[in-house]
């Protein structure tokens, strides 16, 4: 008899449990209760978010596979596709930073190579609490080492990323990992079973007790299974996964595989149920045949374990020998553990005894979906009209350059191998990374970005602005966007304000993606990011992939001597939700985020792409955190400039208005640059020439004047001095 307490400890509500009873027509077995618990968890079922995510645009001429598979796939021409996804590993990374982050990378890699794609690039989006918070430093050390430890060993370059700090992440860091891979359009593999008679194979690491949900482990009637409480964070083995990657890709070259799925969250259960669901089939798993690495594991534990580096394969009958041979070559475990059936029922047996028999449709289609109540919250207070800017704007600029969100993150990314594979044309540190596709003229752009401050201030506009910024970042390396993966990090969905933030954020993303022609092809939702009553800033992590064909553009991040510096777009006017307000005036959660004008965005991006692809500009840099002044300073870390601005207000200097970029080009290119801007209807405002060892800004009179060496020191030394 299953008690109300056991139901609650499995995270099921009384009404959800009633659906279980109605669906089965009987009380579930203990193992089945565990299965419903994980399959209907927020993480697996998207029960709070699913109705909202449907509003995102997920189709387009390039989209081959949209959300719902292990990763999305986009056509990049000539029979080639890029497959990508971003996923969160927030809670595990806070509990055990190294393994939490490492297994986040491991999981996203599996999602991509499961599709038949060879991974070519990783990115990460990280959020930590304040630098002065006692836990932050150790979290940064652990998370960064974990990401590097896994990705470096796998030999997949980590080509870009972003790291920001805010008090709302003090008790809940965010670790979002992205992976992209290349796959031939006719060699894409899906997580499906095909028809009855196909064989189910388990490959990779043995199953242990790691990752079984702590709450269920602590259940009173569970004493028989284990005296110990194992950590709920999984332990990664990148070496094992490297072998699994090579073995799976090798097997995919043969005509044996029907379907394949990685065992991620909810492990064996989720992978087998989802495959059966997509295949419209049933499945029998013989749990006693599952390779284990611990003795005396129960069916419940085998089904719920989240041990890493495991895959479930469905192969054509009669091809077993080939599978065994490939996995023997790579010294990996491989076992036949079941059969595809035609009755639509997901069954598990244990030494011949049936321990689970659940119609697949109940687990998938009958999963709860909630339209949770939303409570619109008030907008942020307006920027005070009597704001008095500091007299020394040079000191302000230096302060912003050394602020946690702007400061050089080389300390982080030099711990990541960002070059292995020898395709990284532009690595970390610029607006976007650029990765070539060997044997073609194709270049893929990668950017990951999010600004929780903008999103908090107005979830709709803030999220739309982040989409626009990603597209602009890609334009700065010559690419146009081909797709987006979103990683929605929000607080507790049972709070009306959080649900409102989520829903508005989705709508803002949908509007911007529609306006700028970017399909959302994969993603992930991470809710309950809160500690006590403190929710994180709403943080929709956006990872965007771009493409262009042609010669690698001769662009760089820093100015050289004698170049013309110009601004594309208007002078800034909007200080709301800016880095300047937070850092200089201590005004957090003040002001609305900058609005987005899609027409301006489209024209600016078209001009940027033409300028970069045409080899006309040496530097193209988007204005974002810290506005125009920080964008200029980031270009001036080697060679300075004397520049005259049309407006010397702090809003013009530090406002984070969209639709703008700074470029630098050889003066001999003046006519061509002007023509590209005119053709696209973009205003080009010449600011001056590069040269010398100071950055001097004028607006009528002197505005600020700082030494390049000081900019470099403040920008470059802050992070290592803090991190140690």
């Amino acid at each position: 008899m299953i008690t109300a307490e056991q139901i609650a400890s499995h995270g099921l509500t009384p009404s959800e449990y009633q659906v279980v009873l109605d669906g089965l027509g009987r009380e579930p077995t203990w193992a089945e209760l565990g299965v419903f618990s994980v399959m209907w968890s927020e993480h697996c079922s998207y029960k709070s978010s699913r109705i909202h995510l449907k509003r995102l645009p997920t189709t387009g001429p390039r989209v081959v596979i949209g959300p719902g598979e292990n990763a999305g796939v986009v056509d990049i021409g000539d029979g080639l596709c890029v497959c990508f996804k971003m996923e969160s590993h927030n809670h595990p990374s806070y509990i055990e930073p190294y393994q939490g982050a490492a297994t986040g990378v491991g999981g996203i890699l599996r999602d991509v190579f499961t599709m038949g794609a060879r991974p070519i690039a990783l990115m990460d989006s990280l959020r930590f609490g304040r630098m002065e918070h006692p836990k932050t430093r150790s979290l940064v050390h652990g998370v960064v080492a974990g990401i590097g430890g896994y990705g470096n060993c796998m030999g997949i370059p980590t080509v870009a990323g972003e790291t920001r700090f805010d008090e709302s992440y003090d008790g809940n860091c965010l670790v979002n990992a992205f992976c992209a891979g290349l796959v031939h359009k006719d060699r894409i593999f899906l997580g499906t079973t095909g028809g009855p008679g196909n064989k189910v194979f388990y490959v990779g690491a043995g199953t242990g007790r790691d990752g079984i949900h702590g709450a269920t482990m602590a259940s009173a009637s569970f004493d028989e299974a284990s005296d110990e409480k194992r950590p709920t964070v999984q332990v990664g083995d990148p070496f094992q996964e490297k072998l699994l990657l090579e073995a799976c890709l090798e097997l995919m070259q043969m005509d044996v595989l029907v379907g394949i799925q990685d065992m991620g969250a909810a492990g064996l259960t989720s992978s087998s149920v989802e495959m059966a669901g997509r295949g419209g089939a049933g499945l029998l798993l013989e749990l006693d045949k599952v390779p284990t690495r611990e003795a005396n594991m129960t069916p419940y534990e085998l089904l719920l374990s989240e041990s890493q580096e495991r895959m479930l394969l469905v192969i054509q009958p009669g091809k077993e020998k080939q599978v065994f041979e490939v996995f023997a070559k790579w010294d990996l475990r491989c076992a036949e553990v079941g059969t595809v059936t035609g009755d639509g029922i997901w069954r598990c047996s244990w030494h011949g005894e049936e321990v689970c028999a659940i119609p697949v449709a109940i687990l998938t289609d009958a999963a709860p979906k909630y339209d949770r109540p939303q409570t619109p919250r008030g907008v942020a207070p307006a920027v005070p009209e009597d704001l008095v800017p500091p007299a020394d704007l040079g000191a302000v600029l230096l302060q912003l350059m050394g602020s946690p969100d702007v400061t050089d993150k080389r300390w982080i990314w030099r711990q990541y191998d960002h070059q292995v594979g020898t395709d990284t044309e532009i690595g970390p540190g610029l607006d976007a990374a650029l990765v070539r596709v060997k044997g073609t003229k194709k270049h893929l752009g990668f950017v990951v970005d999010s600004n929780g401050h903008h999103v908090w201030a107005d979830p709709f506009v803030g999220t739309a602005g982040q989409v626009a910024e990603c597209v602009r970042n890609l334009a700065c390396v010559g690419c146009e966007p081909v797709g987006l993966s979103d990683c929605m990090n929000f607080g507790n969905p049972q709070k009306g304000e959080v649900m409102w933030e989520f829903s508005r954020s989705v709508d803002g993303m949908a509007e911007a993606c529609n306006a700028l022609g970017v399909p959302v092809i994969s993603g992930n939702v991470s809710l309950y990011n809160e500690t006590g009553e403190q929710s994180i800033l709403p943080t929709p992590g956006l990872a965007m992939v771009g493409l262009f064909e042609g010669e690698r553009p001769p662009i760089r991040g820093r100015w050289t001597e004698g170049k013309r510096v110009a601004r594309l777009g208007a002078s800034g006017t909007h200080l709301g939700a800016s880095l300047y307000l937070r850092e200089v005036h201590g005004l957090r959660k003040v002001g609305s985020p900058p609005p987005v004008d899609y027409d301006v965005e489209r024209r600016t991006n078209a001009a940027l792409r033409a300028l970069v692809r045409g080899g006309l500009v040496e530097v193209a840099h988007d204005c974002s955190d810290g506005g125009l002044a920080v964008a200029l300073a980031e270009c001036a870390l080697e060679v300075g400039a004397t520049l005259s601005l049309d407006d010397g207000s702090v809003a013009a200097l530090f406002g984070e208005d969209h639709g703008r970029a700074v470029i630098a080009y050889d003066p001999s290119r003046e006519a061509q640059v002007r023509k590209v801007c005119a053709d696209n209807g973009v205003s080009l405002v010449s600011l001056g020439l590069t040269g010398g060892d100071r950055l001097t800004l004028l607006a009528g009179g002197p505005l600020l004047d700082v030494a390049v060496a000081d900019l470099r020191a403040r920008w470059g030394d802050t992070f290592p001095a803090w991190a140690g």
């Binding site: 080492a145 470096n152 790579w330």
Partner: protein, 219 residues
């Protein structure tokens, strides 16, 4: 066409990069699986970078027992050119083909960054001493080359230091040693990755000097 074997151990991840680089110099790259017991007929052998056997136990310590290694040792003993890059260098140290050992970086962090190297010591199939320093990247956690004093004196005295960091070793390597050879000079190991910088659009072209030296040697 000259043929260069590139050995793939389980966990090697710069093997494809090494083969790609070799192919850019008009040579044929021959993929060799670590379980093979016969080395095909080749003119040179590269042990590539990566994490052979996950770097478990100690970097390169398990790979040295791979079935192909006796063949590599024999090839080296017959004077064949052998190059170990990064993890390949660690394997060469473990199997005793080149002197020294590789410890953890002094700051205990993985480092992926450009370094400037001076080519010096005796001429080898993979290097010509002198010329301007080359700029190529490192990407390792265990690149701190170390040898006891007697070995160090012998290695320095015999001109077996082939690559040396200019401006200090970021990993703490003894006397800024980045790469060494065996006494005969045909076997060279180095931590930095010449195979990564052989094309202008991808990092730079200074790594070409290593492959050009081999082309000249085999000509």
């Amino acid at each position: 066409m000259r043929r260069v074997a590139v050995v793939t151990f389980p966990g090697s991840n710069c093997d494809a990069d090494a083969r790609h680089a070799v192919s850019l110099f008009g040579m044929e790259a021959v993929a060799v699986w670590h379980k093979d017991t016969v080395l095909p007929k080749v003119d040179a052998v590269i042990l590539p970078g990566g994490f052979s056997y996950g770097d478990y136990l100690r970097c390169g310590a398990i790979a040295r027992f791979s079935p192909i290694m006796p063949e590599v040792v024999k090839f080296a003993g017959n004077g064949g050119p052998v190059l170990g890059i990064c993890n390949g260098f660690q394997v060469l140290c473990e199997v005793g083909l080149v002197p020294g050992v590789l410890l953890r970086n002094s700051k205990l962090k993985f480092l992926c960054q450009d370094v400037d190297l001076r080519m010096e010591g005796k001429p080898t199939p993979w290097s010509k001493p002198g010329g301007a320093p080359i700029r190529i990247p490192i990407a390792h956690m265990e690149g701190h080359w170390y040898a006891d004093d007697a070995t160090l004196e012998r290695v320095e005295g015999e001109g077996q230091v082939i690559f040396r960091y200019v401006g200090g070793a970021p990993n703490g390597a003894t006397r800024d040693v980045a790469g060494v050879s065996n006494a005969a000079g045909n076997v060279v190991g180095l931590m930095p990755h010449p195979e990564r910088y052989v094309e202008a659009g991808v990092g730079g072209t200074d790594g070409r000097r290593v492959f050009e030296a081999l082309v000249e040697t085999l000509a």
